[in-house]
Symmetry: C3
Subunit: 257 residues, 3 copies
């Protein structure tokens, strides 16, 4: 069974752009499995994109190649990279989109190469002409080193990473999901095994910490979500409708003891 | 050719949740074909979800496995099931989501087992950790009995079923589709071969019955839709924009003679 | 590796209609690769649909079969066709949906047949019962002539084609994409190698012509998009938010010398 390519973009699904990535992949190798990670990253939103890339990276087996394109700088001098993050590969613009995926892979099992932009590439569609073909080559069995020159590490994204402080962790809302859960940059790795006891943001806070959405009741609660990030959630409606924090807002998570 | 797994959820397509189901399926067997039935079931809407599950069940060949997750009670004590409904399989929370699929399969060719929730399952993401892996095992050839203990039948959903009355059938709008057609719970099986002659709801009625949308003209008409449910439809615009019934509203369908 | 079927419809993704096409295709041949070109064509919009069909046709390798269903006349007397457009196939209602794909294929390598509607076809769902099965047969290796009787050419769509005038080309906005770019009917083939220098529409014009979105700056610019159509675009927001032309509006593109 050949490897899978999983697409993460801000292209939406109402145009043929996402399909064009699959067309480009199948021109390299029509036997490759292609699937949408999501095409619903908010336009140009690198934080939400990095969260989606990481979520996909956790969901799929080693050997999977993520083709990630949230690329406000398409056609400019920003670089292009391919990485191996502990066995999951990702091809993307070098703008921070792989920040979590890279950060959470063991240091000894991650590698990064820079990818060249072919002369024939459309200046407005590197997804099709740069990232998808490289993703396809990797999925078809090419080694990372065949795809570009080694480089130390990808561009990072400072805003993606929470800051551990005395008694808590300070982060921000990096994504709001379809259920209206406000997903923060505070991760299980930041908590370091300590239990969450509360979360606060400008004009709001929660002292309830829930294990499931259904047990939240009528208010808000902090939940450790399925991808390992602290969320502020309500049951059956958007957290924001009950005063929860909004995209970009700073959230401080308090931990026990 | 291995079996296909078709996903029906209320996850939307803007997050990586739907993809995580595919990741979990491919961890069991990467050769399985995976496709979205729809991820656009309205949040937590079991009636609309049951209609989508049934529509998918009709569309795909026997042997197909539906992984259905509309699961407001995720992580609580609600059960989990896998069913064989006349050759089409479905893995789902035991909350009524399979009501139509089960109801419309011949009694002698349907079976139900309860599925255990593994200890390691994320309390907020049984789709990934419970339903998808079982769907994958079934699609990969496991027998239903290997997936859980036999039980008599799934939880049903009373609101999904119309009531046959003298001269007509009383149901409700269970879904409004992308074209704005108001799909009711009144099914071909409820009509029992009798011709629809009218439909009425609070503050509205139609006496026109159309075979195609294009022949409706400028008003509303009743149409027997492609999945066997009576719809109230307009041509080229939402039925609601002409006073048609809304989601949840009671509709009485009059039949001939 | 068997051929791929790419779906282009106005079905949206919130119902099971799009999946029903795949179900119908896999009933013919479960080994066929199926993928969404897009299901987000605006309801009944043949111009935008023709643009999506053409975009998909460019993106996928020869041998690919497009199943295109934007079909306001479903169930009426409008015809059904299958075409070979330079090696890419398309099955569609004969309503102009293949206008660009047909027009841009070399005359000597295009063929058209009319497809019969089976008696059992649901009058409201020819996508499932007419177009998808024929697309599957073609992808599975049937010759075009086995799918219907030869006919001279498909119905065209006059509004899809720009008019070359002295010093410029007059077209209209046929689609607005997810990024808010206003895509016009003025194509690279209409420009005939001449450079774009400006574009104008009622109450607006641009004199800037950009190679990438990022270099546009704070205003609007004309861009030759990745599918070969002139767009009016802004950087990071919808062109319409800066006074750009709207869907359907006439746009005149000025060319050099």
């Amino acid at each position: 069974m050949s490897a899978a390519v999983v697409l993460v973009t801000d292209y939406g699904v109402d145009d043929a752009y996402a399909a064009a990535l699959i067309g480009a992949i199948w021109r390299v190798d029509p036997s490759l499995r292609c699937v949408a990670g999501t095409h619903g990253v908010p336009l140009g939103d690198l934080l939400a994109g990095a969260y989606s890339v990481k979520s996909v990276g956790r969901a799929f087996a080693p050997g999977t190649v993520i083709c990630a394109v949230v690329d406000p700088g398409v056609g400019t001098q920003r670089g292009a990279i391919a990485i191996d993050a502990g066995g999951v590969f990702c091809v993307a613009p070098d703008n921070g989109l792989v920040a979590y995926l890279w950060n959470e892979a063991p240091a000894q099992s991650r590698r990064c190469v820079t990818v060249d932009v072919p002369e024939h590439a459309s200046p407005t569609f590197h997804g099709r002409d740069v990232f998808a073909p490289v993703a396809a080559r990797l999925a078809a069995g090419a080694r990372l080193e065949e795809c570009g020159a080694p480089t130390a590490q990808p561009v990072t994204l400072d805003a993606a990473f929470a800051v551990v402080e005395p008694g808590g962790v300070a982060g921000r809302v990096i994504a709001v999901d379809h259920f209206g859960n406000a997903i923060t940059s505070v991760r299980d790795v930041d908590l370091d095994g300590r239990r969450v006891v509360a979360a606060s943001w400008e004009h709001g806070c929660v002292q309830e910490v829930a294990r499931t959405y259904a047990e939240i009741g009528t208010g808000l609660a902090a939940v450790l979500g399925s991808a390992g990030h602290v969320e502020v959630a309500a049951d059956g409606r958007p957290a924001a409708s009950l005063g929860g924090p909004r995209r970009g807002q700073v959230v401080r998570v308090e931990v026990e003891g």
